[in-house]
Symmetry: D2
Subunit: 393 residues, 4 copies
């Protein structure tokens, strides 16, 4: 603190890690307890109980003690065996990326890839099963964050279940910001974390696991053991009488407890509503600035992130830098294939409040204008405000 020559941001509207709720930050400052002490063991069981309830899951939630990308890698490593045919659904960078992890373990992979501003059509999944009834595992990203787009996981999940395959859903940046739950999408492994819509810190993974998933892992001869990539190591760790295989990230668990308390105190439906409204207001404002949404159709635009096309002739990094220096507002660029093509405004956790749609439109508009792009910021703000006003009547 102090020696950093760069000014701290004023408002962070990133696609994650996101600004955390104050109560969560203070949760992370609770005492670090010894993981074998009965107080901590009972506490851990309680936290898992809260997470399970938030997931609306029938089985105890699974916590993995690293950020959700690790949870996903571990899920791939543990679930996908050398005899498994995998159907990978790629509507964005993260969906595509899962295929590379899968490739380390599977026998064969079928991939459905759509343009990265599009969503997977459930019919494509049906068709894939018809062509390849030997598909055992399906992987889908609910909200492909680098695109800001959603896939219809509930419909896809039903098809997967009907075909008796296992479904892995990456809901890292959607859970907590909208109505998505493992049972509703028939997920066998459902991966999320506190560092996005739940407004917590990013260093821990939340998973919902089905009995089918655990059975498949138990049958996988190559499933890692005594490894950070092993889900099985942690299967029973939620229980206060079972030891931890490795040291849990105590402070992250402390923070997660606070995350869950906040989520229930506000009420999930209320939380989702403000995410949705903020995104809707933001999209209206961005369009009124004269910009185009990245998503091919507004129905697949995520309520937790708004992706906007970079106007022709401008560089994404210049726009971000101008918003940052002019207003102290942090926005996100794209990643990999979407880098340079779009900008992202996060609506997650504490900034999933309509006033931040105005902040985003202003900072983005001001930045564009500074770079010579003509846009009507007043009109952008008015458009956002119309959405907000309409929601109150």
């Amino acid at each position: 603190m102090g020696q950093n020559a760069i000014k701290e941001p004023v408002i962070t509207l990133s696609a994650g890690p996101v600004a955390a709720y104050q109560q969560v930050l203070l949760g992370m400052a609770r005492p670090v307890h010894y993981d074998f002490d009965p107080y901590f063991q009972a506490f851990y069981e309680q936290v898992v109980g809260k997470v399970t309830r938030a997931l609306r899951a029938p089985q105890p939630a699974l916590l993995m003690h690293a950020e959700p990308a690790v949870g996903l890698e571990a899920a791939a490593a543990s679930l996908i065996g050398p005899d498994d045919v995998v159907l990978n659904l790629a509507s964005g960078v993260y969906g595509k990326g899962f295929g590379y992890w899968s490739a380390r373990y599977h026998k064969d992979m079928v991939e459905i890839e759509v343009p990265y501003n599009e969503a997977i059509d459930p019919q494509q999944v049906k068709d894939a099963f018809k062509r390849r009834p030997d598909i055992r595992v399906v992987s889908v990203v609910h909200h492909d964050t680098p695109s800001g787009t959603l896939n219809p996981v509930n419909e896809i999940g039903k098809i997967v279940r009907d075909n008796d395959a296992l479904l892995l859903v990456d809901a890292v940046s959607s859970f907590g910001g909208m109505d998505v739950h493992p049972e509703d999408c028939c997920a066998d492994i459902f991966v999320t974390g506190p560092g996005k819509c739940l407004g917590g810190a990013p260093g821990i993974t939340i998973m919902a696991m089905s009995e089918r998933a655990w059975a498949h892992i138990a049958d996988n001869p190559k499933a890692p053991k005594a490894s950070i990539l092993s889900l099985g190591d942690w299967k029973d760790a939620w229980h206060r009488d079972k030891p931890f295989p490795f040291t849990p990230s105590v402070a992250e668990v402390n923070g997660l407890d606070a995350v869950m308390d906040l989520y229930f105190a506000e009420g999930p439906e209320t939380v989702w509503r403000r995410h949705g409204l903020t995104a809707k207001a933001c999209r209206a404002g961005v369009k009124a600035l004269g910009l185009s949404l990245w998503a091919a159709r507004e129905e697949i635009a995520s309520p937790t992130t708004t992706a906007v096309r970079v106007p022709a002739g401008l560089r994404d990094d210049d726009i971000l830098a101008a918003a940052r220096s002019g207003f102290g507002v942090v926005l996100s660029a794209g990643r990999s294939e979407t880098k340079g093509k779009l900008l992202r405004i996060g609506h997650m956790g504490p900034v999933a409040e309509p006033i931040y749609a105005v902040v985003a439109v202003t900072a983005l508009g001001g930045a564009l204008r500074k770079l010579g792009f003509k846009c009507d910021v007043g009109a952008g703000v008015e458009a956002a405000m119309s959405v907000i006003a309409a929601a109150q009547n």
Copy 2:
């Protein structure tokens, strides 16, 4: 908070995770910044700089975003290639355990194993190189926490370097509590973390890497990439202009910054001195209680953990439970092979203060007495106090 029926501990004297310094807890409550924001990127570089300075290392320190056991697993996965012959030095549970990770990657392994209350003799290492000049990688645990014993890493390191092999040192529970540094022990990979002697939280790994280690990893065709097990992914991440391959655990980095500031503010030598004095006082007290130290010789007893033999006829868990319920004091049991045979008293971070030696002796003595073991707690305390008093003159 609140619903936990078990009373929170009063004083935690565990072998880790340990009680964290208040300033570190508050450090973990600093804002969660977006990892691509220039403020965070500059901050991360600064933190790595501080860690590097604490390690007295010539190369930028490496941070891995999970607890140190993951750092060790990743080190094995990244460093040990299919052509490597490994010499594994096992003087305890953790030393032995590294061999299992090594076995996933190495061509062949030579192991020197000594009783778990003993230390590796450097001469044994010399001899091993004579018998097997093809040894490429040597692994040693400095402080094998489940035994509370130290290995002579500086002497071992010299031999390894003379034989042109690479040395991996697990200094997780010694660094920060005594004078051990990667250059002094010729470590090519030196692994530690903030959650032990540095009085921080356990969810992040600190590593010092030599150029030779990086080169060996670069040459390892099986070194993981795009994985939590890949050191290489993070090689350049310390630099503010380089992107993070995955999301860093922002809150853990925030806490680590506070850890480092405290360490320098107090002065490393001062920190080590109080660890050493606390352990010495504790050993004196424990012996005066009529108990035996686990370590074969007091010279190899760690200044950061005191391991004590469980008296005949008593169960370790009963003793821990009695100390916990009678005094609110948390002690540690053994692990794996040492479980049931010894108890451990941690002297790490904020409780590495001589008064806590008295607390430990009292709680342990009181617990034993409650279980029918006769011991002179007054004598134990007096013995500890003699050590403390002597140190002040």
Copy 3:
């Protein structure tokens, strides 16, 4: 932080301000809200409700936004009018001191003074009323902290009520550490604060007020208004619909909320029990060191502070300094008349745990020994442990 050349204490066993609970410290770090915002107004009403419940009081508690000595001064200024005859009960420095405040406002004062290691005898109060039936206000300190002694406030209160006078009780350093409540002692103004036995910070005053007290204040023509010394200014401020007369100390209120939650979560009876046990163990230990308690009789020794006579030939400050430098343990000296004559060991809040009796005995014994006073620390610790062990059977 950092530039302070003096080492931070390891363990604070002062008579207050005391070490605060971690949850309270984190409570103080909650957002500072605007005092006219409806959220804060409702929150304030809730906090007052919790405090009222803790006090077991029929009227809403009164918060004054400065430390309890200010609360006491304001109580004197508001309650005592120019026609009032005051009976001041002085068994220590604080009791005596209240008389000086009273003198600014009263018509006449009767004072009963006993040696500062003694307690007021209720019969003396009865007698005073016989001699002076015109006494209107009686003032008594429950625990006169500079002496570590208790007065029998319940008996005294009954007499005062029978004589139709008003009673002001200073319970600053007893409430929260033992069973004392305004209704039980017929207090009309009962003053305490979070910074002692409740383990909070010292910057706010808690009061219970009777209707009779409010009526007397309303009738007092000299009662301050628009002043920090006016209780009346704040009479209705607890209600969410009433404005604050001045700015409340928002962070102290935040901390107080956490204090109350902890108190109820643990259960008052449990909290009192550990205060009492710690003090009892401490007294046993101190006596076994060969020292004398300050209190004339152990029955009047407070469960929240143990006062010990300074042995002949030694200086109090030297003893404190030796405990501080040798063990990092903070103890308290006396104040005013008791300064130089006694030392005090606080048993308040988080350190009201039996293990800290051992810490106190050790640090005190070690300090004395360093100064040449012969004492058997082992015996002291054993005596404390006997008390602790007996309490568990």
Copy 4:
């Protein structure tokens, strides 16, 4: 936490208490140390040193342990003696109010009162001294918060000094947000606090005292002693070797230390600049909404608070409630005489950032529109943005 049925605010733009910086909140969560412990005594001296440096004062700053209104009351009580003629300068509610405090102590008072949207003209002060050369004490509010207007204290101060009178300056809500310092305005008592522009909590008072002020207090036979209203009690308390007369508010001192570190780390000039720019942008935006500033002339509008006339036909509370419910944005109403006539937008501490001018304009405009007042929010935002953009070139 949790039971409060009212939603926590999203963004607080009040005139104080204001949202505190996160580092300050965490500062308030540092350990509560015993006030007689040498660590705390040295720490307190350091904090006073930092405050003194921030004030650019030649004498050690004075801390009073309650909110600044108490500091002002104590200043009146301590400074103004029974022989003193006071000149009270009243350009607003707070200036007028000081006269009531003065009346408790002075011999006679001269008052210059101007309309509450105006400022005191230095010529008026000169004239007053001509008419009444016996004026001994002058009181002025720099920023009369309920009006959002500034008085020319530097000019006034010079006149007072030339007339050999003493000057008391209330700079509670201006210091830290603009260039005002006791020496520059010849203040003998200069009162401020951390809970406004410095972004701290409101429970402590900062004062700069001249030697002349201390001498006058020493000569005042009625100056309080042993009282919260006594400045003299605390005169030497800054020194580590001097005891505290009463218990300092330890947590507030901890927070103040963090406040000062932040202020210096950012640089006072930088802090003032963003306060000024935010206010300027806000004023432009508010005017473009079709509203009138309260201040008679923009030159006297404070850079730390923008006061806006309530449009005819609307009620202030309705507007605040609409901004709060529609956007989660907290604004302030007027106080006493200005209540109902104006609204206030605070630009203090962490929200003294230009983007919050946009937030304020949007929330205010949206609220007005909801109540049927026609206004062009887009134009308001554009006007604010023009100011921001101009400042960057």
